[in-house]
Each structure stands twice: as C-alpha cells, then as structure tokens.
C-alpha cells in the first residue's frame, strides 16, 4: 500500500457538527469531528452480563463510517464480548444479556422485531482463529451470497471478493481446493473475503491476526487499510502497535474489581479518542500506563 493513499485515508473531516447536542456534555471530544450521517453505531450505556456477573459495564461510544476503530485493553477486559454485541453474536450464548442501547444507523439493534440474521448480513465478522468451512475456497466465498438469497454472478463474486481480500493472486488456481489446504494467513484472508462477499456495511474483526505470523499479520493490516475505503471496521486487538498502526480511533478498556470479596472483575471503557491522542497524549493515567507498557 502506497503512502499517498494511506495519507488520503487518514484525512479527517474538518467540520464539526455535534451529533446530538443533548449528549454533548458527557461525550468524548472525538465525536465532535463527525457528521451525524457518518455515525454508524451509537452505543449508550451498554452492560453485558453472563448470568448475573457483568462482563463489561456501562460502555458508551460512537463508531463512524469508513473509520477503523480499535478496541484495546488487557485480556479479560471484555473487548471481545463487546464487539460481539454489534452483530448480536452474544445471542448465541444463552446466559448472556445485553442492557443499554446500541443503535445502528439510528435503529435500535436490540429492538423487538430486529432479526439477528439480518443484522449479521450487514455486519460481517472475522474471528480470532481462521474458521473456513471444510469446503473448497470457492464454496466458502459463495456460502454467504447463497444463504442470503443474493442473485450474483458466482465467478465474479469469487474473484472480486478474493481480490479485495488480496488473496486472488495466491489462490486463483486453487479455487476448488479445500480451504484447509491454505496457510493460516491465507485462511484468515479467505475468511475476510468470505465476509466481503455479502457486501456488508461493517466488518468486525476479533483479534484477526493473533493466530498468525508477523508477515501474515502485516498483510492483514495492509488489507484493513484498503478495506476502509468501502467498509467501516471495528477491530479488537491486544497488540498495541497494531492498533496504533491501523486505527483511526482507539477505545481503551480495562478490568475493574467488581466485588472485593470474590475478586470478580468486569470490563470498563476508560478512554475513547483518536488513536494519535490515545497513544501520544492520553487523558487518563491508566491509559498512559497501558500504552507505555507500565501495565498489563
């Protein structure tokens, strides 16, 4: 990826129009820089519990279109739990409950009548470990369009998705081979291609590079920058350098002792701002300790 393009992507809108003047008082500085129509997710006071114990508590933040938002923090701070709220993957855990509101383009994601299947069709996800289906590369890509009843030109979708995932050149002659014959990094990019094939609005990535070697990781990071032009990306990572390299905004989570007696911990959002600010001039000492390596 050339640096000119990278610069272009990094440019931010100059005009500041508050999304919601009512919320101005307690919102972070970061959101003033965005137009209301660029607001993709508006998270208000979200608490996720497994059973009675909260995994994360009272999180509020905003995610904007065509940005890469990184969620960082020590392990156990609930960032994976949190990202799974955006496409309602937490529904699959019977004991999990979500309180608060998450709106997606103004619509409450957890309102009655909202179908999680429709949500996931628009909000794709890439998981920590590559999880291709035990089928051919081609079938992996076409699964999404097929189940969503999209009438598409199969060859075109396969090529386009693989190209966008920067995998086309490597697998163009192996489209009918098992996805399991690919390397780990290729498998992960296949999973990204698979997510792209249904042309989502948002792509969630839950530590997409944690199971990969440095070279594959670099590829995925480059890829994210390219994808940003078309998609809004939210990424969970415990690799701070990665967050600093790829993201526009960063949310720092930490764990807090919930109950002294049982030492039960829950996650909490400490600070959310432009990535540059988080890493160079954080307002909270805990953030500073973490990004400078004094903690966790």
């Amino acid at each position: 990826m050339d640096s000119a393009q990278s610069q272009a992507v990094r440019q931010r809108p100059v005009l500041d129009v508050p999304v919601d003047s009512r919320a101005l008082a307690h919102h972070t500085a970061a959101e003033h820089s965005k137009l209301a129509s660029d607001l993709v997710f508006d998270v208000r006071d979200v608490t996720v519990r497994y059973g009675v114990h909260p995994a994360i508590r009272n999180v509020s933040l905003q995610i904007y279109r065509h940005e890469i938002t990184a969620l960082i923090g020590p392990s156990g701070c609930g960032k994976s739990t949190f990202i799974r709220c955006f496409n309602r993957m937490n529904d699959l855990i019977p004991s999990a409950t979500v309180e608060g509101t998450i709106t997606y383009h103004g619509q409450d994601l957890y309102a009655k009548g909202v179908d999680p299947v429709e949500v996931r069709r628009r909000i794709g996800m890439v998981f920590q470990k590559p999880n291709p289906f035990p089928k051919s590369v081609r079938e992996n890509i076409l699964f999404g369009p097929k189940v969503n009843g999209m009438e598409v030109d199969a060859d075109e979708v396969v090529e386009r998705s693989l190209r966008r995932a920067a995998l086309w050149d490597e697998v163009r002659n192996k489209l009918n081979d098992s996805a399991y014959s690919l390397s780990g990094g290729q498998q992960q990019r296949l999973c990204i291609a698979r997510a792209i094939a249904i042309d989502p609005d948002v792509i969630l990535m839950d530590e997409p590079a944690s199971a990969l070697d440095p070279i594959s990781t670099g590829r995925i990071e480059d890829l994210m920058r390219e994808l940003q032009e078309r998609y809004t990306i939210v990424i969970v990572t415990h690799n701070m350098q990665q967050a600093a390299r790829v993201s526009d905004r960063t949310a720092f989570f930490t764990t807090e002792v919930e109950d002294e007696a049982s030492d039960f911990r829950s996650g909490k959002l400490v600070e959310y701002d432009f990535t540059e600010k988080i890493f160079k001039n954080p307002s909270d000492r805990r953030t500073e300790d973490y990004v400078t390596g004094r903690f966790g």
């Binding site: 996931r120 628009r122 998981f127 470990k129 999880n131 289906f133 189940v147 997510a195």
Partner: protein, 302 residues
Amino acid sequence: MAVSTPRRTVHDTLAGLERGRRRKLKERAFATVLFTLTAVAILVLALLVVDIVLDGFTRINVDFLTRYASRTAENTGIRAGLTGTLSLMVLTALVAFPVGVGAAIYLEEFAPDNRFTRLMEANISNLAGVPSVVYGLLGVAVFVYALNLGRSLLAGALTLALLILPVIIVAGRESIRAVPLAIRDGGLALGATPWQVSYRQILPSALPGMLTGTILALSRAIGETAPILVVGAVFSRRADNEPWYFMEAFAALPVQIYNFVSRPQEGFKIDAASAGILVLMAVLLIMNSAAIVARNRFSRRY
C-alpha cells in the same frame, strides 16, 4: 516427653524384607486373577465362534442360501429369512435415519433449554433400557392392530426403527458436537439462519459420524429376534421378501434360526441353526466393516 524407641535389630529388617517378598507375590497373583477374568469373557467369545463354525460350516452351500424352508433338514434353506432381514434393514434405515438425524439436530441446535427438552433427553436414555421384547408388544398393539398394518414387513421395520432410534439420536448428537463451534459462528456471522448453518455446514460435517452410528444401530436391529417375533415374523414363507412389498407377511433370519434351534432333530437344531447363524454373523460383519469404512472414508479434519 521422651519416648523410648526400641532399637531396630538385624532380625527386624530381614522380617520386613520377607514381608515385602510375600507382598510382591500377592501383587502378582492379583494381577493374574484380573487378567484371567478379562480373558474368560474373550475366550468364551472365541469358543462360541469356533463352536458355531465347526457346527455350521459344512452345512452352508448355495442351496441353503437359495432355498425356502423345508420340512426336511437336508433340504431346508434360509432364502425367505435372508431376503426378509435385508428388506427389514432397508425399511428400518429409511425410517430411523431421517427421524434420528432430525431429532439429533433439533436437540443439539434448536432445542430451548427448558423442562420439555430435559424430559426428552431423560426419556431417550430411559428408552435405551427398555427390553426389546417390550418394543415388540408396542409394535403388536400399535402397528399391527391400531394402525392395522397386520403382521407385515412394515410393522416389523417400524418396530425395529423405534428400537434403534435412541442409539441413532445419541450417535447423531455426538457427531454434531464434534463439529467445531467456530464453523457455526462463521456461518451465522455471514447472515445465515440457524437452519442454513445446520443444513449446509454442520450436517455435512457430522454426516460420517451419523452414518457410522446408524449402520451400527442397524446391525443391532437385524440381530434382534424378540421384537419381530412378537410382531409376528413367520418362520416359513415360500416367497422372497422385497422391501416394496411391505404389507406382506415376512420372515427374518434370526426368527428362522430360533425356529431351527427349537426343533428336536439335530439336522435343524445344530446344522441348519449354526449355518444360519454363520450367515447372520457374516451380514453383521459386513455391516460393521461398512461402518468403519464410512468413518474413515468421509472423516474430515478441522
């Protein structure tokens, strides 16, 4: 407070050693007893196989396989029983496989965690303990009389299907559970509905295990005698049993063996019976091999 410890003498030490030697002997004796107990059951199995082969091997020939039952031991054959058993196998599989797989998918993928689901699960493990002859009584009362199927092949197959259903469900659930959760998440995250994920991803991956389980269950079903005897399998039938004539009366191999062995004449009781058993065991052996092949052939790695 001072305690006086008697000084250990050379004699004491040697006594300890002596005890150790005796203990070692005891240890070895115990291990030998355990091994013998294990071997007994296996030896009996070997004895049984040898006994049956010796009794029946010379009696097996083409005529025995292709003739219908006869009044004389020399001319009797198992054609009706063999075709009946094969037809039962086909019909039982046609009923039990889809229902068992459906139940397994429901219980693993869709069942809400409530009392009814728990009741179903407890019920399935209880059914496995119901004697097979009781299934026969169910078959008589429901299939033969209430549904008016008569003492037909279909009534027999339905009875056997109910009998092996719990086994198929349990095997099906196990093979579904072996499919990694990541596959499920991957499908759902692409906007597939739970059913689409089950049908297109989980089912194909779980199928080899389900097939293996079903074949093994079927091999149990066709060895069963009591339920189809109660439902009304006949011994002597001068016709083939074909699966598509499912409303006809039927014979089955185990029922014929039971009839042979119940007769006083040695020609039936020993020769014909053991020959029939050899054929039955051969069928079972083929099925078990098929199950192993199914498992190895289609097994996927994740």
